[in-house]
Subunit: 329 residues, 2 copies
């Protein structure tokens, strides 16, 4: 049983301000290391906004104009709000395109590769100060199910972003069910409490978590390690959008991995299919019944359900039979 | 324009341990106030586990045995994992029923009313110490889209749980798009960094956010204010579960408020309905076409889409027409 580092004895979070308005090409490492005295084992948490500005990610236009270029796909839309998965795998309103703290008529895109930005900044801080400091790049994100926003880590370097308790036991001898606190996101949230949203304190230093800071030269997996693989995400589409996607067919992203055959049989039966079963060749087969109109209705319902479960119609089904095969993910 | 309190000048988070194993009826306020010296404006963050133990919420049995009693409804299930909305409105794996840090064969339910628990503890701390301290009761929650867990506030007393920036402007004169950081959740996350999961440090004190602590006697809205109203939640069901719910009809929770008629018309048209339109009486009407089987297929698809949009079949549609009316939410 490995022994992960324990929690901090005490954590302090200090705001960092006074670095002025950042423009493309500015030396963030130099500005930040001049604004605060860093110590070995500190975590410097910096809002993605200033990283983006230093990297020249300001664009003329509206969020709507620039959305397509930042989006991998849209999870849900309601009125003017679109919840979008970015190319980084982050799920953010308007793909994280920011229209605050920028000149009117311009917006700010996220860094192209926030983990790389964090690594560069970490190396710059080491060069400027000689200190071993971890770096987090953060953005503000809404959540499913809860009101309000919290800051999350979109880039990380030199930090163990997940604190793995797997295999550990509590004092009662139970294996711990919670195996991986998202330490980087919790730190991003803590830093937001002192940074605020008015742009004058774009960074914070978290002190007391040196056990989570990796040795010099080791940058760790980055914040990308906090992105849930789409195959394991149960909420990859809004509820409404999931139904429309299943009725339209085509792109199945957002539904996760295909279900086992037994689950497909159970669902088809529950929707009224007759004699649903797994055939020897692995196809799932079921019977339609009733008059032509009833058969058409049932067939459409079975097809939509199969789509959501990751199966699709197989070959030349006879008029009274439908057959599905597992989609290769 | 109101001026909300600014961010903290510095935040410190101190672990609180040494209160021993908690049993039903224990005086948590007395134990915690003896374990740490509290100051006016502190926020005491305590894991729901010890609050539940003090309130006698230990039960014999497994998580599966006790799930039905804690669940409002199930959002998604994959294998042995169920994502459940509790009676409190919290979305948690296994409804927040905890099988760690309890005697084998027993589990721990969440407090019945964690905001009330927080208020009682706040009053107990005031009586024991004379200090004006806010209280958060926390639990550990997984998230959509991201791996790992973070702590969130499930109960709160005496804290401004959302920091409202609405109407505020950034230094560039843009109205801030992010209007409400979920301060209570960010504090819960910060406290988790020092508490850990091994049960020996069930609480933490956050110092430096006195501006967010309400005056004595004012408990504020509690953590219930962080629960998103189901009507405004786009992710109220897993993608797969949303499709099956639409095909089965019946309970429409998880889909949010009904869509406007114009959106229904647009969706029905995109699915192949003929002449979809809003009638003078507000019903949405569309034509079916093709042979009987094709009509049945189309009809089933239009009905499932309408269900997801919050509309349902209206009265005696003729064979070639389908009509939908808006569901009263």
């Amino acid at each position: 049983m490995s022994t992960p580092p324990g929690p901090a004895d005490a954590l302090s979070v200090l705001p960092v301000g006074g670095i002025g308005e950042i423009a493309e090409g500015d030396d963030l490492a130099g500005l930040l290391s001049a604004a605060v005295e860093l110590r070995d084992g500190d975590v410097l948490v910096v809002t993605s906004k200033v990283v983006s500005k230093a990297e020249g990610r300001v664009r003329t236009g509206s969020r709507e104009d620039l959305l397509a270029g930042e989006a991998d796909r849209t999870l849900a839309t309601r009125g003017r709000t679109s919840i979008v998965r970015t190319h980084h795998g982050l799920v953010l309103a308007a793909a994280g395109i920011d229209a605050s703290n920028t000149d009117p008529g311009t917006v700010l895109l996220l860094p192209v590769d926030p983990d790389a930005s964090a690594r560069r900044l970490r190396e710059g801080l080491a060069a400027a100060t000689g200190r071993n400091v971890a770096v987090l790049v953060t953005d503000t994100a809404g959540r499913a199910w809860r009101d309000g926003q919290t800051d999350i880590a979109v880039g990380a370097a030199g930090l163990q972003v997940l604190h793995d308790y797997s295999g550990m036991q509590d004092p009662h001898g139970n294996e711990l069910a919670v195996t991986a606190p998202a330490v980087a996101d919790e730190l991003a949230a803590a830093a937001d409490l002192v940074k605020g949203k008015l742009g004058r304190r774009p960074a914070a230093v978290a002190r007391g978590l040196a056990a989570l800071v990796l040795p010099r030269g080791e940058h760790g997996p980055g914040a990308t390690a906090l992105v849930r693989a789409e195959a394991h995400d149960m909420f990859g589409l809004g509820a409404r959008e999931a139904v429309l996607a299943a009725l339209r067919g085509g792109d199945r992203r957002g539904f996760g991995v295909p279900a086992p055959a037994a689950e497909v049989v159970s669902v088809l039966s529950s929707l009224g299919a007759g004699d649903a079963h797994v055939r020897g060749d692995g196809l799932v087969e079921a019977e339609l019944s009733g008059d032509d109109r009833a058969q058409g209705r049932l067939c459409a319902r079975l097809e939509a359900a199969a789509f959501a479960l990751g199966w699709h119609p197989a070959g030349d089904a006879a008029r009274l039979l439908v057959r599905f095969e597992r989609r290769t993910p």
